[in-house]
Subunit: 755 residues, 2 copies
């Protein structure tokens, strides 16, 4: 360990070894991306660790994870049947890839840490179980016995536990942490349900009442409980009340009390409990992350520090090499900007406080806008600078131009709403398309193209993509129709959706809506995490559902005989509400269908009809599956989703610039290379300012990327970090990671601060 031996005191003034630099850069990179990985510090291990974090390796892992998950589409019951040999082969390939990734990780991390990490244990367990299942299934298949591929429900384990899926893991942990509290409320809720069911049984049962379908009403305790449980989900309201209410008007009091207590109060309490736990858990995790980051950065500092007077510092040259190693793609001018911020007094070295800020600085997206002249101005300056050309620029930059574009979009919308049959309307579509293309061309003529298609110009990309796609689609549609009687309807449908989506542009033009739209967009990153969670939960539930209900219900399509189609191909369904409502398409006969059924169950309405149908074709106990789905999906998953959105909105309401951002902005302003955030549309011409201090920054402009790209995560993290003093290294790692591999840090002397 090259860093370890020198960590106790200050280093003499000599450049750090490439190995130290590489190790420090790995620490910085880990701190920047909040990676929580313990790696060996030998040069070989560090190089392996770099390779482990290489984007291609991570992409490959994700590819195999999704390949593994998607196998369910091709296995029995299949959406697109493939021979079993192909799917088993693909699965073995995936398992090999997972094993390879795991072995790679084992080479990077210390042996003891590897086995103390539950992630790795989970993966090893899932690998072993899947292999065992494959062997058993294969042997049974040889003996011609149909086995159950139960290990398929374990596939999401890989999505959760490969280190890159940290966010999903956190969401699942927060779900698990909420469980005890939720369970307590659930018990109380079930008790309340039981009380009401007892009352309903006595008050309404055994009095000869019939439901609208003519079945007996609250005839047994079990049925009473189920009916009222369905009422909690509101799915059978007001039907369940009708017979009792017809008999006596006072019955409405019972149902009103029930709905208030169980549907409103308890459902809100579930949300409160889940939300509270989510927040508490998030705060704890963020605190942990902040301390881990601090530890990594202190380790990097100790590797590179030299003594300068009374304090330890990192020299400018070392610092630059470090940042280049940690972020290979960083531009020279951006690096210069960061250095000016970190070494404010131009002392030639970076002190500890500024060094520790580095990951935050790297995480702030600074948009470097080159003040390059427009390509046309370089090529044909005379034409581009001519009065007519300048007039076009002025028109395009004018507010009225935006309004005119919006008016065109609106006119297009009206046309879409009208009938499409007439030739005029069809011609008009071409007119609108050319107007859109003209708009984009005019803008590209006026603004610098690379700036117009900058990384944060979301709406410009949106416009261009939609117009190009619509253009391609319309041309393709017309070409296919002209070529003969092919069905080009799907292409037309896509073009149509694109056309309608273009209307979104109008909303963003309205200032008042922009705040909400931006808040909604900032839900995006969270939704990705949440989507992972949903995928994990739904996939496992779908696999179980497919094993239980596959082939019981069939949608026979328009060609089936009427009698068969009416009972979804299963005589047990004759006369059932399931068949009457034409729910034959809601079945578990392949993964896609199963996911659609789960979506329908999430929306809750009519779930009791679906559940009843599947109970009729299998066994009444099948109801249990649907109740479990309801509890897991509606009470936990949907409430977490609501909690996430509430949190995002509350954070958006209290949006403030962080201390680090303010520092960067101040520096940018001081250097005279800033652009006000409002000037996003009107990009600058070519006046480069006239500070004395910008040799390296000539021709470049910077601004902080818009706030809307921030996530709750980073906001919370900064909130907490601002509370840690620069010299505070927090609790020991053991205290932070109770139960996680941790004492390696403490054994590694480079983690103990010298000086």
């Amino acid at each position: 360990m090259p860093g370890a031996c020198r960590a106790g005191g200050a280093r003499p003034k000599e450049p750090p070894t490439p190995e130290d630099l590489l190790l420090a850069a790995a620490y910085v990179s880990d701190a920047q991306y909040n990676r929580n990985v313990l790696f060996e510090t030998s040069p070989r291990a560090v190089r392996l660790y770099y390779f482990y974090n290489h984007w291609a390796m991570r992409a490959a892992t994700y590819f195999f994870i999704f390949l593994d998950l998607s196998l369910a589409l091709f296995e029995e019951p299949a959406l697109l049947p493939l021979p079993a040999s192909a799917t088993v082969g693909a699965e073995l390939l995936c398992l090999a890839a997972f094993l390879g990734r795991l072995v790679h990780f084992a080479k990077v991390t210390p042996q003891t840490a590897f086995w103390r990490d539950t992630k790795n244990v989970c993966i090893v367990g899932a690998l072993a179980l899947t292999l065992a299942d494959l062997v058993i299934y294969g042997s049974l298949a040889v003996a011609d016995i149909r086995g159950v591929r139960w290990s398929r429900a374990l596939r999401p384990v890989f999505l959760v536990n490969f280190p890159d899926g940290r966010q999903i893991r956190r969401a699942l942990r927060s779900l698990r942490n909420a469980l005890p509290d939720v369970l307590r409320v659930l018990l109380l809720f079930l008790f309340s349900l039981l009380l009401f069911a007892l009352m309903a049984l006595k008050l309404f049962g055994g009095r000869g009442l019939k439901t609208a379908q003519g079945s007996p009403y609250f005839s047994s305790l079990l049925e009473s409980i189920f009916e009222l449980y369905v009422l909690v989900t509101t799915a059978n309201s007001p039907d369940v009340m009708v017979p009792a209410y017809e008999r006596s008007r006072w019955a409405c009091l019972f149902f009103a009390a029930f709905v208030v207590v169980n549907t409103y109060v308890f459902v809100s309490v579930f949300l409160a409990v889940v939300y509270h736990n989510y927040r508490r858990h998030l705060k704890n995790e963020i605190r942990q992350l902040a301390y881990l980051k601090r530890h990594k950065m202190v380790a990097a500092f100790n590797l590179l520090k030299v003594q300068a007077g009374s304090e330890s510092v990192v020299e400018e040259a070392t610092w630059k090499r470090l940042v280049r190693a940690a972020v290979p793609g960083l531009g020279a001018s951006h690096l210069e900007l960061l250095l000016r911020i970190c070494d404010d007094g131009r002392t030639g070295h970076v002190d500890k406080t500024n060094f520790l800020r580095l990951p935050d600085l790297l995480n702030i997206r600074v948009v470097a806008i080159s003040a390059r002249t427009h390509p046309l101005e370089a090529w044909v300056p005379r034409v581009y600078g001519a009065p007519a050309s300048r007039f076009v620029h002025a028109v395009v930059r004018h507010r009225v131009f935006v309004w005119a574009c919006d008016a065109v979009v609106l006119a297009n919308a009206v046309l879409i709403a009208l009938e499409e049959k007439s030739v005029v309307v069809s011609r008009a579509e071409w007119l609108f398309l050319s107007l859109y293309v003209l708009e984009i061309l005019l803008k590209l003529y006026t603004y610098e193209p690379r700036a117009y298609f900058g990384r944060t110009q979301f709406w410009n990309w949106f416009d261009a993509l939609i117009v190009v796609a619509a253009l391609v689609g319309t041309v393709a549609h017309d070409a296919i129709r002209a070529a003969g009687n092919y069905d080009s309807q799907p292409i037309l449908d896509v073009v149509l959706v694109l056309r309608v989506l273009r209307l979104l542009r109008v909303v963003v033009s309205v200032q008042k809506f922009r705040v909400i739209v931006n808040a909604l967009l900032s839900v995006g990153p969270m939704t990705l995490t949440f989507g992972g969670l949903v995928l994990v939960v739904y996939y496992a539930l779908a696999i179980v559902g497919m094993e239980l209900f596959q082939g019981r219900v069939h949608f026979l399509g328009p060609n089936a005989t009427r009698a068969e189609a009416l009972v979804c191909g299963n005589p047990a369904l004759s006369g059932s509400a399931f068949a009457r409502s034409r729910y034959c398409t809601s079945n578990f006969n392949d993964l896609a269908s199963a996911l659609v059924v789960l979506m329908e169950l999430t929306v809750v309405n009519q779930w009791h009809v679906l559940a009843g149908g599947f109970a009729q074709v299998t066994h009444p106990a099948a109801m249990l599956y649907f109740v479990v789905v309801h509890v897991v999906v509606v009470i936990l998953v949907v409430n977490i989703f609501t909690a996430v959105i509430l949190e995002v909105f509350f954070v958006a309401y209290s949006l403030e610039k962080s201390e680090v951002e303010t520092a960067i902005e101040k520096k940018i302003q001081e250097l005279g290379v800033g652009i006000p955030e409002a000037d996003v549309e009107g990009l600058p011409g070519g006046d480069a300012g006239d500070g004395s201090d910008k040799t390296a920054l000539q021709g470049l402009y910077f601004r902080i990327a818009s706030k809307k790209y921030r996530t709750v995560d980073t906001l919370l993290q900064r909130m907490f970090e601002s509370e840690i003093a620069p010299d505070d290294e927090g609790p020991t790692l053991d205290e932070i990671l109770s139960g996680s591999p941790s004492d390696m840090y403490l054994q590694n002397p480079s983690y103990e601060e010298g000086a």
Copy 2:
């Protein structure tokens, strides 16, 4: 103004005049109850103000408000028809009472303040409009034209605007303040709905698809919008998807996107916006209240202060007279306890800081538990103290006794769940009843009866009431049945509900549930406010609905011919989903029915069937009424309810003792007269402690009433108050009450602090 002339400097050492004392006590009482009333300070006006606040006057006002509201039950369309002369007479009586109350208030408050208060303007307006409506209606009735009693929808105005309904007013204000934000999101939501409706129209309309009922599918833009709006409420899921999904499986992507964006994201955003506004508004109001309280208390202090050394103080004797005048029912020992807290050093006077704390001290419910001996011990000491008697005490106090009682309740529950027909079960009910009575008698024998039925012993009262009611009910039932063939079923039903409710007692015995149950109980007070809000909104909506839809749909009962009953007495409904689902009882033919329909609409499920039915019997535009009900009730009212519950739970999670409570508890402990909060069940025997300082407190025990009686309101208020320095009187009243009558305070010199 007797107080005004002396307010500038300190008073010589002479007792305050009775008038000053009365005025100061009025201030204290206002501060205690957070009344925000500006009254004249002349002795006559102060006495009138006392009379205005008398409980009988307030009770009478409430009586007339509810009488006025309940008139809708007796007016056309009536639940219990009364002649029009009777209802109009009652209404006139109510109006007279309201006018009287208003005139009384006008006598108390300064003229200018009266008219600047929107409350009074609202009341005067509502009175005038109601009178005008009555006159018009009467004239039309004379001319035999049926008029519309539109002013009936104004009746909730009285409930909202009479000063005692401050809480409801605040809830309404918070609703109104949330409106702009909600409206913005609503517009965006409608826009999103429009986009999706356009897509649906183009993708699924005009392709010959039919719904399960055989009607055309997404045939026009308006229908498309309505169908998707219903899908947001989930009421037509998954039916709306079925035809498209049967045709192409890709259709599920459209519906999934729709549900995620509109049902989940937007609905959560509505909750976030309402919740955020609710909290912000609550904080502002509480801040205002805290400053008003401070102003009132400073005014009271300035009236009574005398100079003692360098500081102004209130003498002990004056202080005692003041508290007695402000809270006539306060016990002598409680008064003594408060004095010890306020005059900690026993200096003979109360300083300003302690004086300002008085309303908080008065608001903390201190339970004075007299250590009186059990009445039986006084009467027959020998028997009560005998070993057998002591053994009974020990048994009753033992934990196993509680368990045994719970076991009896559970056994009873099992029996209830069984069939009731057999004679054994019927007999067993008598056995259980006697066991319950025995339990209560034993407890009364062991514990001091007045302590057992203390004001905060909620569950003891609950037990006793349920047992007594069940006893009375069972006896009455048996007596009626024995007397002849009367129908005693309703009584039996009530008894049955009581029996089942007794099971609640078991839950409370489980420690883990007690926290949640207490949090749920603390929702109670909030629910009262919220119930007022619901009443106001529902009443107005019901009145409008009755005018629109009365008599259109009839429930004909079991005696009608089948054909008539099948269409709810209205041929327009033949073949409709409304009639098929047997919703004839859901009509607007009287107030009670209308409220039930509104409840069904709140639960949302099948609301489109109800709306469709009423549109069929009147006009398609009737749909608008139901959409408005949905927006108001589901988006606003239900979300506020959820916000309230979330807030209550978050406050319950961060429950801490306030500074004032801690001071009181410390004092109680110092004086040695405290009881640990845990000892609620085991009330003390007779050991009076042995402090030296309790001449006046002999034989009394105190403890802070349990936390569960605290509301979010008081908690927030204390949070904010702890942030105001004792000398800070906050912004001027004009700043606080912008727009409210305020400058009277400033004209009144007693409000400016001297010394």
